[in-house]
Symmetry: C2
Subunit: 390 residues, 2 copies
């Protein structure tokens, strides 16, 4: 629908900053001792996940809607998005006294639709796929004369996102490297435009989720920069690197455990690139945590996976003779070794289970990988044949 | 060991603030739209969970250690704590160029012990209970001439925590009510001392975890103010209220989902009091999120519970005839209704399972309570006898 034809300039970003004053937040910078130690350089997190609506998207939306004429404002804003963009347009419209209509597919997570509604938007759930919502939104624009707000193919949207770059220049005078997520390219182009102009010495690295990144970094992995945007980005950025789902997942868990911040997959790619040694450059590194809107069920899965990798969960399977007291004996051993049982599964039938045997699967909370090994050894010493499942 | 005999004054807190400059963070204030809407008044969160080491405790520790003589500094700091206090003493000692020895029980979570070690402290794991660690710490003090740092029965510790009150007075000029967790009483007495002096009009509410609060708010529920402290607190505070584990749990999940902040149980009691309508007073309410050091396995449990209550998980049990294809039929029905299966358990034996039947337990991710009901109805319509387990 919309196509970007002109790249924004520093002046556009500076104007955007004026429009955002008193509406969007200037988000804090947070020195992380854990990440600094792990990366061997000072790491300062740009906590854009604490932005209003939980993502950077409000910056572009506020800038765009602020420039509409009174007639356009009266006709309302229209967007097709069940995610950060939709919530940002809903929120910005309300802040500026406009109406907003947000089209989302029927299967959109209720929490996101609720968020749009709570910001006062009219939400329409339609069709099975995103494309259906987009078609309906376009039709609504034709009928209502409302303004369709594209998530990134728009000079004003990009200029709005770029205000993060101006904030960084002031907040971290000694920054050496900035890491910015690349989705559709709006955030990265905006930030790079601003920083190239005011801090030409800073290394700017764009980070993409790899092709396996579909599930975790859903905010960026489904979008790619257009044929107009990509060459501009390649010119503006010093480097473009990719991170894997596994690396993003580790970054999310560390941000949660050590920095006390909830960050969505797309927002954690900068930290993932730093931890995996792919950021390059020298001096203070500043990953932009672009958003915090991760689905809580996804967050639980990511955390469980992270804890398993860190040896904080142990899942074992063993066989017991099918007599009273055998399970208690095993559980007593686990208790002696300070394993914390959270699940016991009992199987009495199966291809590999003898008739006099019963199979038990235990899920334990453990302290670390060493603790896991101690537990496994203690079980082996008492004669259990143990298979480790996780 | 240590006993508080004199309460700190505003001057003590002001001196503490000078000593903390450039060492502890001035933590940000965060306007929460969700909490404001839910509570019908503006809610601004004091994000002390973003403090260095993840809790307010570094304020008191830095203040205390800063006042030691060169001889005392040379002999090192000693603490008995596997939690926020231990980490804060370890961190503050390193910042001030001192050594620290932290005694913890053998069963202390490895993550906490690791944190103390990463801050450069010598950690000693000893004994089964906290009292054993305390005894060992006292013995070490006698032998080494080191200074024992009490977590709250100390005027300088309390004055350090009180610096939060001075920050609040500047950061939220229009605040009407402050909510401060009560554990041992150090934080609450410090904050109340400062605010009573500089903002006598502000309502100050102390919040305790109820007697059922042992597990979730472990940072405060195991401590109670001393006989000297309690009457002072009752005098300084406008009200003291209690919240339940269930309320704390809901507050943790909302802070995570909506404010993108990881907050421990003890740090979430102020939000819990607000949400349950127990805060009283008028005007802008400011809960102090005192810390973010929640064990990740605990956080997962709390989140899962919160999601189940919100209808985001559905656990059902039903019986199928033991024939090929029956499970696929059930799962297809669930898929049609857009339930997202995360676990299937199969039981072929049991007191209530007929020989021709097999029992299946499904755990589904759902959108909301209405979605749960839709799924249950669809299963009933197709003839399944369904028992809802969660």
């Amino acid at each position: 629908m919309a196509t970007l034809r002109t790249a924004p300039t520093l002046a556009d970003v500076q104007e955007a900053r004026q429009r955002l004053l008193g509406i969007a937040e200037e988000t804090p910078i947070y020195l992380s001792e854990t990440f600094s130690r792990r990366c061997g350089r000072e790491v300062r997190l740009k906590a854009e996940n604490l932005q209003r609506t939980g993502s950077f998207k409000v910056r572009g939306a506020v800038n765009k809607l602020s420039t509409l004429s009174p007639e356009e404002r009266a006709a309302g804003a229209v967007a097709a998005s069940a995610g950060n963009h939709g919530q940002a347009v809903a929120w910005a419209a309300r802040e500026l006294g406009m109406s907003a209509t947000i089209y989302v597919p029927q299967a959109a997570p209720m929490a996101k639709v609720e968020a749009c509604r709570n910001y006062g938007a009219h939400t329409v759930m339609t069709g099975a796929f995103f494309e259906d919502a987009l078609t309906a939104a376009e039709q609504h624009v034709e009928e209502s004369g409302g303004t369709f707000i594209h998530p990134y193919e728009d000079q004003l949207i990009i200029a709005g996102q770029g205000t993060i770059g101006l904030e960084l220049a002031e907040q971290v005078p000694d920054m050496g490297t900035v890491l910015v997520p690349i989705g559709g390219g709006g955030l990265s182009m905006g930030v790079a435009t601003a920083l190239r102009a005011v801090r030409p010495d800073v290394r700017i690295v764009g980070v993409q989720a790899g092709i396996d990144g579909y599930t975790i970094a859903d905010g960026i992995a489904v979008k790619i920069p257009s044929d107009f945007t990509m060459p501009l980005l390649e010119d503006l950025l010093d480097d473009i690197v990719a991170v894997t789902d596994e690396e993003i997942s580790e970054a999310i868990v560390l941000l949660l455990e050590r920095a006390k911040l909830v960050v969505e997959g797309a927002g954690a790619v900068g930290v993932a690139a730093l931890l995996s040694g792919r950021a390059g450059g020298t001096g203070t590194a500043v990953p932009i945590l672009s958003g915090g809107n991760i689905d809580p069920t996804m967050l639980i899965s990511v955390m469980r996976h992270g804890l398993t990798v860190a040896g904080r969960y142990l899942v074992v399977r063993t066989q017991l003779s099918d007599q009273p007291g055998e399970l208690i004996k095993l559980l007593s051993l686990v208790a002696e070794e300070r394993g914390n049982v959270i699940a016991v599964e009992h199987h009495r039938e199966g291809m590999n289970i003898a008739v006099t045997q019963t199979e038990v699967e235990l899920t334990l909370i453990t302290r670390d990988e060493e603790h896991c090994r101690t537990l496994l050894e203690a079980m082996a010493e008492r004669g259990y044949v143990v298979e480790r499942l996780g």
